[in-house]
């Protein structure tokens, strides 16, 4: 009897909360989340003005004086002159120095890559031009 009571007391002391399994699990979770964690890239949103589809032709007719950047599958032209990106940047920079609210008409052909359009929009953002009109042509 005395022996029995003694054993019971010992097991009561054993029943203290054991942290080890919990810490094991918590570290497992932590390692999982650290490994799957990815820092998000910074995203920029480039605002453009898009004329309604039926207004497209009218827009082109009405504004003969704006700077017209055309994006082809294999290059760019600015007011019908073929240019590369650094040259376009200088041209846009000169325009921005005069008037930042001047409209730039960006015309993209159907087979041009989206990346090229972003490149032009990025240059416009760099020099500070705000009124960007994106139209599509065939």
């Amino acid at each position: 009897m005395a022996h029995k009571r003694k054993r019971k007391r010992v097991s009561l002391i054993d029943a203290e909360l054991s942290m080890t399994p919990m810490i094991d699990i918590v570290f497992q979770l932590l390692i999982y989340f650290i490994l799957t964690f990815e820092v998000l890239d910074d995203i920029a949103h480039l605002d453009v003005y898009r004329p309604a589809p039926d207004a497209e032709q009218r827009e082109q007719m009405e504004t003969p004086n704006v700077l017209r950047v055309v994006i082809y599958a294999d290059g760019f032209t600015v007011n019908d002159r073929q240019m590369r990106l650094p040259e376009i940047e200088r041209t846009l920079g000169r325009l921005a120095a005069l008037d930042r609210d001047q409209t730039v008409l960006i015309m993209a052909t159907a087979h041009s890559r989206h990346e090229n359009l972003i490149e032009i929009l990025d240059l416009c953002a760099k020099v500070g031009l705000r009124n960007l009109s994106v139209v599509s042509m065939n």
């Binding site: 007391r9 002391i13 964690f37 910074d42 949103h45 309604a52 989206h114 359009l117 929009l121």
Partner: protein, 141 residues
């Protein structure tokens, strides 16, 4: 009996674990929350073009609709693939609820032909939306 007890106390009392566990839980909570946000936002199949000078997205209109356009011209919103017709009816219904000032972000793959981007933009403008912007990566982290 007193001897056994003394032993036990020195076993458990060697290191105080409480602050460590606090920190570990903080870290787990941080990672759980940030992982969830990332999953909502991104479709990793679309590779965005770089725009190092573009304006950083700071305060985002909560109504913003992001349309993903893949390199093959497939539309999707929040990873749900949509046909052009479905996209148009969704945009028209959304305009009915939130009005035409709803901002639209087009997240186009850098290899997508402009034709596909044009289709997405035309569907938006036909639905009456005029606040259109393109998403690009400002900085890789």
């Amino acid at each position: 009996m007193p001897k056994a007890r003394k032993n036990r106390v020195s076993d458990a009392g060697g290191i105080n674990m409480t602050p460590m566990i606090d920190i570990v839980f903080q870290m787990i909570i941080f990672f759980v929350l940030t992982v969830e946000m990332e999953r909502d936002a991104m479709d990793e199949r679309i590779r965005m073009a770089m725009s190092p000078h573009g304006p950083l997205v700071e305060q985002r209109d909560p109504r913003t609709v992001t349309i993903d356009v893949s390199d093959r011209g497939e539309f999707s919103i929040g990873r749900v693939p949509l046909s052009g017709q479905q996209l148009f009816s969704i945009m028209r219904n959304t305009v009915g609820i939130h009005g035409q000032s709803l901002p639209v972000v087009i997240r186009g793959d850098l290899d997508a032909n402009h034709q596909h981007i044009k289709n997405a933009m035309d569907l938006c403008t036909q639905a009456g939306l005029y606040r259109i912007s393109f998403a690009a990566i400002k900085q890789l982290n």
